[in-house]
Amino acid sequence: MNNENGTLFAPSSGRTKEREKRRSPWWEVWRRLRRNKAAVAGMSVVILLVVVAVLAPVLAPYDPNQTNIKMRLQGPSSEHPLGTDNFGRDMLSRIIYGSRISLYVGFVAVGIGAVFGGILGAIGGYYGGRLDNFIMRCMDVLLAIPQIILAIAIVGALGTSLLNLMIAVGISQLPRYARVVRASALTVRGQEYVEAARAVGASDARIILENILPNCMAPIIVQSTLGVAQAILSAAALSFLGLGIQPPTAEWGSMLSSGRQFLRNAPYLTFFPGLAISVVVLALNIFGDGLRDSLDPKLRQ
């Protein structure tokens, strides 16, 4: 572990040494990440999906909500590459538009979870004592309820809507961010530079924002990447149960749910949306794994 720097910065000529000095730690992470083929593949798929989601109106061959009873339940053809559903809507267009909702829900839900969980964790870790104890016991309570059951109960209480779905999934993910940030805050709290910041009169909020949070960035980023994957799965599961996004909105989970009754005669209605969810989640998980390895090379041996 000690020769980590030795292997990374192989000293050769003076010029390259000069250049390497300017490299930021993030550049190093990127360098390690680039060497991990699987992670690069995962990242490419995620980027591709974001592009598809953004360009959905351009890419989709049809209007995702355009019904055409004459063309209902058509199998895959050159006209409709993934077939049509029971209202004659083009499945490919619906899947393309569905990527918008899934990615949106995934990112916003994780945003909610990471921001609130992160704040709670940072406060707990920084102040310690009774406050910390109270916050962590609350997180234990949230962890004691299976994630999906908690999300179902919250959606049930708030009503089914896109925003409520994101809130429910976000809250059910709170504890993991709180824990990650708290753990980092605990180790950073006693460092000299935090002491120094306090000595020059920096406020607690400033110390938390400027000294503690930047030190938790690595685990937060890894946790968030994997969290987006989990959030997409949970949101699709809730929609599948009829408690998330409601039809006719093109969302993968609810498309699966409505395609279910045609499983025997039109299996492509359930096959393709499920495949889409699997690909996104798999890509995010592979990317997240690779990111963890490159952010913390000690773990990878």
């Binding site: 309570v141 279910r260 699997s278 798999l282």
Partner: protein
């Protein structure tokens, strides 16, 4: 040992109290009025307010919570709005199916996941490892409801060998078990692999090898015991997660279990059932965590020794 158990048991009580507060608040935030739901749209305003009175809904929330908690401690979770049966009876009627599923799912996850992880670690950096690891990652990433539907398509429709719904023969359990266990299986495989890789590099393993003990004996006597500790932790955590998964499994395969009870209750705004059901789930998770803690003490003599010394 007893002290250890009691200490762990004490942790469970505040958590369950917290869960009861959380779920009570969530349920009472719900916009619908239970009295209105019970009486239907034709009810008059007087009927609704008298029923509200009768159900205690006019009392302040903290008083309602107090009543709920006192009754819950006596084992009374109220009555279902829909069927008027005691919630405890409804839960107990549905629980065996859910428990069976959860246990079968866990067995499936361990039986497949553990060997997969061990194999991957023993063949580190070969194609076997790559295949096992990829398989685990896929198992972790695909939505289990999709797995369920695809299995149904394959094994009930294309090659009709398994029934797609019902709950009477062992054949009914095969697909739900896979659907429920697949994520846990993947997690266990990944955890076993990384735990194995760590243990294999320990000095005592090298010593054992150097002494000339056969590979098989080193694996069973020296490695597995230490590998199992983190694996048991993760299996325990995922058991709770998996209990949540029954919601999906029971819906797909039309199994009358606890998960479906809760989902149906939420749709019907049957709040006593939602409240009681979620609390019961939390109790199960708590008990499983307690059992896992006890299992630790069995697997890891250091914990036992710690408590013996403290006595």
């Amino acid at each position: 040992m007893l002290r250890y158990f009691l200490k762990r048991l004490m942790f469970l009580i505040p958590v369950l109290l917290g869960v009861s507060v959380v779920i009570f608040s969530i349920v009472h935030l719900a916009p619908g009025d239970p009295a209105e739901v019970m009486l239907g749209p034709s009810a008059t305003q007087e009927e609704i307010s008298s029923l509200r009175e009768q159900l205690g809904l006019t009392k302040p929330l903290y008083v309602q919570y107090g009543i709920f908690l006192t009754n819950a401690l006596k084992g009374d979770l109220g009555r279902s709005i829909k069927s008027n049966a005691p919630v405890v009876d409804e839960i107990m009627e549905r629980f065996p199916a859910t428990l069976t599923l959860a246990v079968l799912g866990m067995i499936f996850a361990i039986v497949i996941g553990l060997p997969l992880g061990i194999l991957a670690a023993l063949k580190q950096n070969t194609w076997v490892d790559a295949l096992c690891s990829f398989f685990a990652l896929v198992g972790f990433s695909i939505p289990n409801f999709w797995v369920g539907l695809m299995l149904m398509l394959l094994l009930s429709i294309y090659i009709p060998i398994l029934p797609s719904s019902g709950f009477d023969s062992w054949k009914n359990f095969i697909m739900p078990t896979i659907v429920l266990g697949i994520q846990t299986m993947a997690v266990i495989a990944r955890m076993t692999r990384s735990s194995m890789l760590e243990v294999i590099r320990q000095d005592y393993v090298r010593t054992a090898r150097a002494k000339g003990i056969s590979d098989r004996l080193v694996l069973t006597r020296h490695i597995l015991g230490n590998v199992l500790i983190p694996v048991v932790t993760i299996a325990g955590i995922y058991f709770g997660h998996q209990l949540g998964g029954v919601v999906i499994t029971e819906t797909i395969f039309s199994i009358p279990g606890l998960g479906r009870l809760i989902v149906d209750a939420i749709r019907a705004q049957d709040y006593p059932v939602v409240q009681g059901g979620v609390l019961f789930f939390a109790l199960c998770v708590g008990i499983v965590n307690l059992l896992v803690d006890l299992l630790y003490a069995v697997l890891d003599p250091r914990i036992k020794a710690q408590y013996r010394a403290a006595k």
